[in-house]
Symmetry: C2
Subunit: 542 residues, 2 copies
């Protein structure tokens, strides 16, 4: 049989590092050629990484891109398809483009037609939309190009088919969210079968700030069947053979889909690892409380970086239970990380003393709780400043939603591992991680005891919040489904509870505005995906 071998380069490309990304493109092209591939396809905007944001506005970007393209054009013995930003200075336009390079020159260029400008995407800020289909020939077959959002619309692939394409290549920078690969498989199968055309879908892998790109590149035949699939959350040079007589990809062994909890866990591990390594931190520091959030973060950090790059610090105060001390130490021991104890009594007392004349007779309130949290945050930051390690914060999405966290206290740090993970998901992830080894890394008691911030005597989270299963369901409806108060009450939730939760979400936007980045795993994460005005007169209602 006569075969075209394609290499789908599911690789990581660091944002802004055009020289480094170019080297990677050259190396992988050479490797693919040596493995017998005639064409290699890289992800969307591989040259700049994704999303490059305002780096696209720097005039000095254009000469860097030109230099890189000249190097790529010089790659020999393989056709290279690569995504890059194209500044069309003559027409004052900028495109999100895919170039085709072969035999020492650029042979074609396609401009993305559908620019996403919703959710985490701001492509209309940077790009003009292309208007033309592009088809090039290889081994006597007509190959069409599409970029990411294009394939989520019906028209672009239909036009390629109408224009005679035999095969479609889709370059992507498609960020992870729970269930996203399932969604991609369904969508791509439909597009392939409704147009009776095979397609190869190449996705980026690696994390960039709050976004996680999970790979999962796919080759899909004209009948909608998956012929080949790359792994998730890891780089892979996937070679697929395209039978030129049958116009089909030769099927490979199918991959098992990842369970949702495993998907989330791997996304968090990749996010931590890429954030820390790309920012060149030698390691991380985590404040352990003895509770489940910091315990889970510790496990994720160890899986991401190795135990020798993770430091745990327990900072007890008079409300810290003895079992919290025991459990924190047990966590650190089981994961084999450096463990330190720093009591904060003296610090909190010195604040109280300094503040006493200013507070006069004002009654005790949350201020005193915040002082404990800020004493701890400052200790962690001092260690970070002294030894150069990044502080990982451990606030989960439920807490970030309702403001159950102290600015400059437990919120102090560079990366919030669980920022988009609801508390109920924290429990699932802890159980999942424990299921991977015979000896659970998170002590059972940490999972079963009632959660508490331990900022006053006998405190539990449920003193001031509804049970987490109720809270998380309301938060999901309000934040991710944009449901109104009335709609949530219509779902059976107690009116006063819903009102209270919505009020807390709305009034804590100022905390989230100053919060650390954290990996997005949901369909509506905070920060770039949910843009609310701080000052506003909106009130919950119909």
């Amino acid at each position: 049989m006569s075969v075209l071998t394609l290499a789908l380069a599911q690789s990581a490309f660091l944002v802004g590092d055009i020289a480094g990304n170019t080297q990677k493109i050259i190396e992988q092209s050479n490797a693919a050629r040596e493995k017998g591939a005639q064409i290699i396809v890289f992800p969307e905007l591989a040259l700049t990484g994704y999303p490059p944001e305002d780096l696209l506005l720097r005039p000095s970007l254009t000469p860097r891109i030109h230099a890189a393209l000249a190097q790529i054009a010089a790659i020999e013995g393989i056709v290279v398809v690569v995504g890059y930003p194209l500044n069309d200075t003559a027409h004052k336009k900028r495109f999100n483009s895919a170039g085709v390079f072969a035999h020492g020159a650029q042979r074609g260029v396609y401009h993305k037609q559908k620019l996403p400008n919703y959710s985490v995407f701001d492509e209309a800020r940077y790009f003009d939309a292309g208007t033309d289909s592009v088809i090039f020939e290889i081994s006597g077959r007509k190959v069409g190009l599409l970029i990411c959002e294009d394939i989520w619309h019906r028209q672009p692939i239909k036009t390629l088919k109408d224009n005679g394409a035999d095969l479609v290549l889709v370059l992507n920078a498609s960020p992870f969210q729970i269930g996203k690969q399932e969604l991609r498989r369904t969508l791509l199968s439909r597009r392939a079968s409704e147009n009776e055309i095979p397609l190869a879908y190449v996705n980026l892998v690696g994390a960039q700030d709050d976004l996680v790109f999970d790979g999962g590149s796919l080759a899909i035949n004209a009948d909608g069947q998956v012929a080949a699939e790359a792994g998730r959350f890891e780089a892979e040079l996937l070679l697929v053979n395209f039978d030129l007589e049958q116009n089909t990809f030769v099927a490979q062994e199918a991959l098992k889909p990842l369970p949702k909890v495993a998907e989330i866990y791997q996304a968090l591990v990749l996010a931590v690892s890429d954030y820390v390594n790309h920012s060149r931190f030698p390691g991380v520091i985590i404040g352990l409380s003895g509770g489940i959030d910091s315990a889970l973060c510790l496990a994720i950090a160890v899986d991401a970086l190795g135990a020798d790059r993770v430091n745990a610090v327990m900072m007890p105060y008079r409300y810290t239970a003895a079992i919290s001390m025991e459990d924190a130490e047990a966590q650190a021991q089981r994961l084999n990380v450096a463990y330190h104890v720093a009591e904060i009594h003296g610090i909190v007392d010195s604040f109280a003393q300094t503040l006493a004349p200013l507070f006069a007779d004002a009654p005790i309130d949350a201020t005193e709780e915040n002082l404990q949290a800020r004493a701890r945050g400052t200790v962690l930051m001092a260690l970070s400043n002294k030894f150069g390690q990044l502080v990982l914060t451990t606030g989960n999405k439920s807490e970030m939603s309702v403001g159950y966290a102290t600015l400059y206290g437990d919120m102090a740090g560079g990366f919030d591992v669980l920022k988009d993970v609801y508390k109920t998901q924290v429990y699932e992830l802890a159980k999942f991680r424990n299921s991977l080894e015979e000896t659970p890394v998170i002590p059972e008691r940490v999972i079963t005891r009632p959660p508490s911030a331990e900022l006053r005597p006998e405190q539990t989270d449920q003193d001031s919040l509804p049970p987490y299963d109720v809270l998380d369901a309301i938060l999901y409806g309000y934040i991710e489904r944009d449901m109104s108060l009335d709609a949530l009450v219509g779902q059976g939730f107690d009116q006063a509870t819903v009102q209270h939760v919505i009020h807390l979400v709305d009034r804590n936007e100022h905390k989230r505005k100053q919060s650390a980045l954290g990996p997005r795993i949901s369909g509506r994460a905070f920060s770039r995906e949910r843009r609310y005005p701080l000052v506003n007169g909106w009130t919950a209602g119909e």
Copy 2:
């Protein structure tokens, strides 16, 4: 002469407060009618305020808008033109619209055609572009509608003229930046004269988060001459008479243009006042250092809120000079604000004691300086938590650019008054404020002594930074003009200095990501206007 009286309602509209904004529209319409106006024009998106951001995505917005429009349609005896978001559910589109209401019903609607999606604007995230011109009749004259960005393009107003319009109304939410009113006058004069058509330009006033809307509404005749102008930075119901026979606005007395320094000062005062009042804080707390930044912030806060709502706290440590103590007290006295002193020796010592075993033999470095800043930040936040006042932070744009500030330390607080003000501008503003009264509110010595963070003995800012006039010029080129290293060196700056400054700007993005909002006064402010990836491999160069 036969006259049409227009009321240009240069008003403030609180984001999200649809019910409150509707009441204001009704009251002002009635007031305008009583003053003899036949038509009143409100700003862009007056019903929701600007920018409403993701509130536009809430399904419950639509019924609220419908209820508001029904109330507005019921206004009697005056034609009302008002901006609002229109959800066209049948076609799954959302428009940034202007409605014309008269005699108990809506008589017309125009959809903005040019949607800005650059700088601080994200309108493509929310809106579809309109395609049609709209002209309505009043007093036998044909009146065309445009919205903000439309007028910055040549075509929309030309189409209105071609379609027979006699007069154009432009609804705006045009944010302030230095020199913006001059720019508007020039642009609007050109548009009017090149199309030989008079236009009335109504702008929003008031601050929303980091944006300041400065009013300055204008009536411009077909020859490009300004016939009437509303004041800046304050609400005004500007009545203008339109001579129906001459097709010209009747000229009013001209306003003096504001000097740039006055413009900036007023923008900052308005920003603080609206942020604090709309967020319903009883007052503010400012940490005074004896230096010029906090002194200027204190004056701005007093001008914005009144002395009785402003509290100053001096928090000396062993590196605080005696003259800093004297000057801080003098500032507070001259402005007549409550003044407290809280020494932080005990707090810093207790941190040092707790950290000593963890630091072991590590040498003294910036960590110890950050501890002082964080002790102060925590004291201010404790006062804020206890008494409910907002902490104003005082970091200027030069400091924010190069990271000359401590996260969770002097950066702790809800609103950063000088965030977009370079240090050289801080001096100009201080002198300007002093020039307004016989006794200067900022002691002369504060302006003349060399700036210092006073975090170690004999420290001055110029130990680690180039002189501020050089630093600010480099920052302006790099941040606001996107100039490259080579281009800046080409302007005559020392290569090593430029390289150092660019390096500092690039590596401190993580601090700015967690920084407080502050009012935008420049052509490129941090936060929503400058979107850089935290993790990135971009390096300064050509």
